[in-house]
């Protein structure tokens, strides 16, 4: 673990910026900062978003768990509950369908020159996040904590070694991608 590096605040701000620049570059080169492509995915006519996401998940899943096996990285799974990721996820989805960008790709779209992403997306998201901070005390217990399962991962749930899950998950996602390509989507 590079603990000393993790604790250096200024260097970490610089690393965040660098990683963000590469992330934005890759999102744009992958085509997923474009409204037309994201909406195409949601209308199930263009599968670029799924191709980028599944490939990133497979690569990252194998890579990050490998780093963890070497003892040089730690996992930080997000806690969750049925009330938070279920309800919140659906609300997010409705917004996703209306805006046609998600938070990261929206910032990328602003970088590409799209004003709907800036004055609609960025401004809206700041307003929405502000509204949420007002609502939070009333939501905290319920629904946000309803059906809470904490920082659970699939290997913990099934009491299996991570790799016993990663290998079939990866194979399944690769089969899905091959099938998408073969269908010409």
């Amino acid at each position: 673990m590079l603990r000393k590096l993790h604790l250096k605040k200024e260097i970490q701000l610089g690393l965040g910026l660098m990683i963000g620049i590469i992330f934005g570059f890759l999102l744009h080169k992958g085509g997923v900062t474009k409204y037309d492509i994201i909406i195409g995915q949601l209308l199930l006519t263009d599968f670029t978003v799924m191709k980028v996401m599944l490939t990133a998940i497979i690569t990252g899943m194998v890579g990050v768990h490998f780093l963890k096996s070497l003892g040089i990285a730690e996992l930080h799974p997000k806690p969750g509950s049925v009330g938070s990721v279920g309800t919140g996820g659906l609300l997010f989805g409705v917004g996703f369908g209306l805006l046609g960008y998600c938070p990261g790709t929206m910032v990328g779209a602003v970088g590409e020159g799209f004003l709907d992403a800036l004055f609609g997306g960025v401004v809206g998201m700041i307003i929405g996040a502000g509204l949420f901070s007002e609502l939070y005390p009333r939501l905290e217990k319920s629904p946000l904590n309803r059906g809470n399962f904490g920082e659970l991962t699939w290997p913990q749930l099934f009491r299996l070694n991570s790799w016993i899950i990663i290998i079939p998950f990866s194979i399944g996602m690769i089969i899905l991608l091959v099938w998408i390509e073969k269908s010409g989507l």
Partner: protein, 194 residues
């Protein structure tokens, strides 16, 4: 002015040009699989060097808190939500700034940077009036702001970083994101659209 060409000359004259063919930086699109592998490897770098999963939505919450603090002062830090996510600039906030720069660089290098209000697919169904697009986008943005904080993450934090860690919460979140998104997009384009 063609910013793309300008930047390209900048990079070429920087000295890389003669040694490495930089054409891959200036082409319009890469294979989605190349971009995906890049994002997956970048996630590994983030875990290794910064001990952080890549995510975007808390940065908006922090920004909202910083703006609120401008109007209401230090009392904002007392709000329960900002005790969890302090309204301050940190790693993820810088990452979001970086996304803007990175996408701008990529778009400029491939000559795609252009200021526009209405994306093509939207214009083909609803016309190219900025006002309608802006209202719908703003409504979408507000719902994404509430929804991503409600769910504790977005398509990056849950959708990529969470799923690759095999987090149960993130797999449920990403399924909910796409169920909500697919139904909404279908309603918008097939019921209201032309």
């Amino acid at each position: 002015m063609d910013i793309g060409a300008y930047l390209e000359i900048g990079i070429w004259s920087f000295g890389f040009g003669g040694i490495v063919d930089m054409e891959w930086l200036s082409i319009d699109r890469w294979s989605p699989y190349a971009a995906g592998i890049g994002i997956g490897l970048l996630s590994c770098v983030a875990f290794l060097l910064s001990d952080k999963p890549i995510g975007c939505s808390t940065a908006f919450s922090r920004t909202s808190g910083m703006i609120e603090r401008l109007f209401r002062g230090g009392i904002v830090a007392e709000k329960a939500y900002y005790k969890k996510f302090a309204p301050a600039i940190e790693w993820e906030w810088m990452l979001v700034v970086g996304i803007f720069i990175g996408a701008f660089l990529s778009a400029s290098l491939s000559g795609q940077f252009q200021v526009a209000w209405v994306p093509e697919r939207w214009a083909s169904s609803f016309g190219d009036t900025p006002v309608l697009r802006w209202i719908v986008a703003l409504l979408g943005g507000i719902l994404i702001g509430i929804g991503s904080r409600w769910a504790g993450g977005c398509t990056s934090g849950h959708g990529i970083s969470g799923t690759l860690q095999l987090a149960v919460s993130s797999w449920l979140a990403v399924v909910s994101f796409f169920i909500g998104g697919i139904i909404t997009a279908m309603v918008v384009f097939h019921i209201f659209g032309l």
